[in-house]
């Protein structure tokens, strides 16, 4: 089969799809308003989490002020909504920072202090840790950061190229170069898959240099 035959076959098969829906624009309008609604719900949920998180230290300080009162003398009756939910997120969200290990057995004030290091404006630009954030290898696909190709860190953001190698059924391997964006959150570098979620690159927090390296490539 020559190139022309192949091209003809592709054109013939492509025509099998027919015409787009007559109400394509209306469908786009509906999807867009649906997306807006979902975004509104998401923003509301984030706002709620922020309000709850902000309320935890207040609640904790109120609890310490009531020392000596009947409520703190008996340990068990502490309302589950306060005792179980309040400390857990703050400890879980704070991963490695140095103050964290002692936080679990400390008083509420110490826990409140421990939340501070989670927002680290200048995390270590550790390419081993950044590379570890790439998707886990599978039987057919491997992912590896390549160094020496203009990778860079800027505050809690980093960008670098990585190689995605796909192995075919016949054992042949195909390497593919891609650009990756990484974000340092809660003491860990996270890989933001801009191929799965194109809105990753719409984030205005991404520094210009990182955006140029990781997003402005296709």
């Amino acid at each position: 089969m020559n190139d022309l035959d192949l091209r003809t076959a592709l054109h013939r098969d492509a025509d099998l799809v027919g015409e787009p829906a007559a109400d394509l624009l209306d469908q786009l309008v509906r999807r867009r308003s649906q997306q807006r609604r979902q975004r509104g719900v998401l923003i509301g949920a984030v706002a709620a989490v922020v309000v709850i998180a902000a309320g935890i230290p207040v609640g904790a300080s109120l609890m310490t002020r009531s020392d000596g009162g009947p409520a703190t003398q008996t340990v068990e009756p502490t309302p589950p909504s306060v005792s179980s939910s309040a400390p857990t997120p703050s400890i879980a969200v704070i991963p490695p920072p140095s103050a964290a290990p002692s936080a679990s057995s400390e008083a509420p004030e110490t826990r409140a202090q421990a939340t501070t290091p989670a927002v680290n404006p200048n995390p270590p630009c550790d390419w081993t840790a950044i590379g570890a954030a790439l998707p886990a290898d599978t039987a057919t696909d491997t992912y590896e950061l390549y160094i020496g190709d203009g990778e860079l860190c800027d505050g809690p953001w980093a960008a670098a190229g990585f190689t995605w190698v796909h192995t075919f059924d016949d054992g042949q391997q195909h390497p593919d170069g891609q650009a990756g964006i990484f974000h340092y959150v809660g003491g860990t570098w996270l890989f933001l898959d801009r191929y799965s979620d194109s809105s990753v690159c719409d984030n205005p927090d991404i520094p210009r240099d990182v955006w140029e390296r990781g997003c402005n490539v296709d």
């Binding site: 089969m1 592709l10 867009r32 998707p135 195909h174 799965s196």
Partner: protein, 171 residues
């Protein structure tokens, strides 16, 4: 519609969506998925429409979004496929297998990136450089994928029809 979208964008959708849907169909082999892909790409484009200075290049822009979105969809789905011991019955693709042509069946055998290269080079008629630009990868990568993809496609098309379907079912 006019208020929701820029008039020019609406005009663009009307004019170019048939051609874009064909590209989406070659990438997905499924009409429903192709429509979903096209809508997703158009919605992504609509968000940046006012910043698209070169309206004549808009088709190429949407096509690029189409391809990158599809690649990411496939990558995400493949992860799920790997997690399964064996694939469930291909009930959903049965109607498509009857309807679609052989070239489409053969295309289904290629990995997403390679398939995109073949579609852009062979169907859309892009040069290697244009394909590399559209996919955000190197010229060398396009060359190797195009050559390997076309060879594989020819090999598959040389086989009897049932062989392709059997291989597809075995995936």
């Amino acid at each position: 519609v006019g208020r929701e979208f820029d008039d020019e964008f609406a005009e663009f959708v009307t004019k170019w969506s048939p051609a874009l849907l064909r590209v989406a169909f070659l990438l997905t082999s499924d009409r429903g998925e192709a429509e979903d892909l096209l809508q997703t790409a158009l919605l992504k484009t609509s968000r940046h429409w006012s910043r698209l200075a070169d309206r004549e290049a808009a088709y190429a822009y949407v096509r690029r979004v189409l391809v990158t979105t599809h690649t990411s969809w496939r990558r995400r789905r493949r992860v799920h496929e790997v997690l399964l011991d064996s694939l469930p019955e291909r009930a959903t693709s049965e109607p498509a297998a009857i309807e679609v042509g052989r070239a489409l069946q053969a295309l289904e055998q290629l990995p997403p990136r390679m398939r995109a290269v073949v579609v852009l080079r062979c169907y859309e008629g892009l040069s290697e450089a244009e394909t590399a630009e559209a996919l955000g990868c190197s010229l060398g990568s396009v060359k190797s994928q195009a050559s390997r993809g076309l060879a594989r496609l020819r090999e598959l098309l040389a086989q009897p029809d049932t062989t392709i379907l059997a291989q597809e079912g075995a995936r």
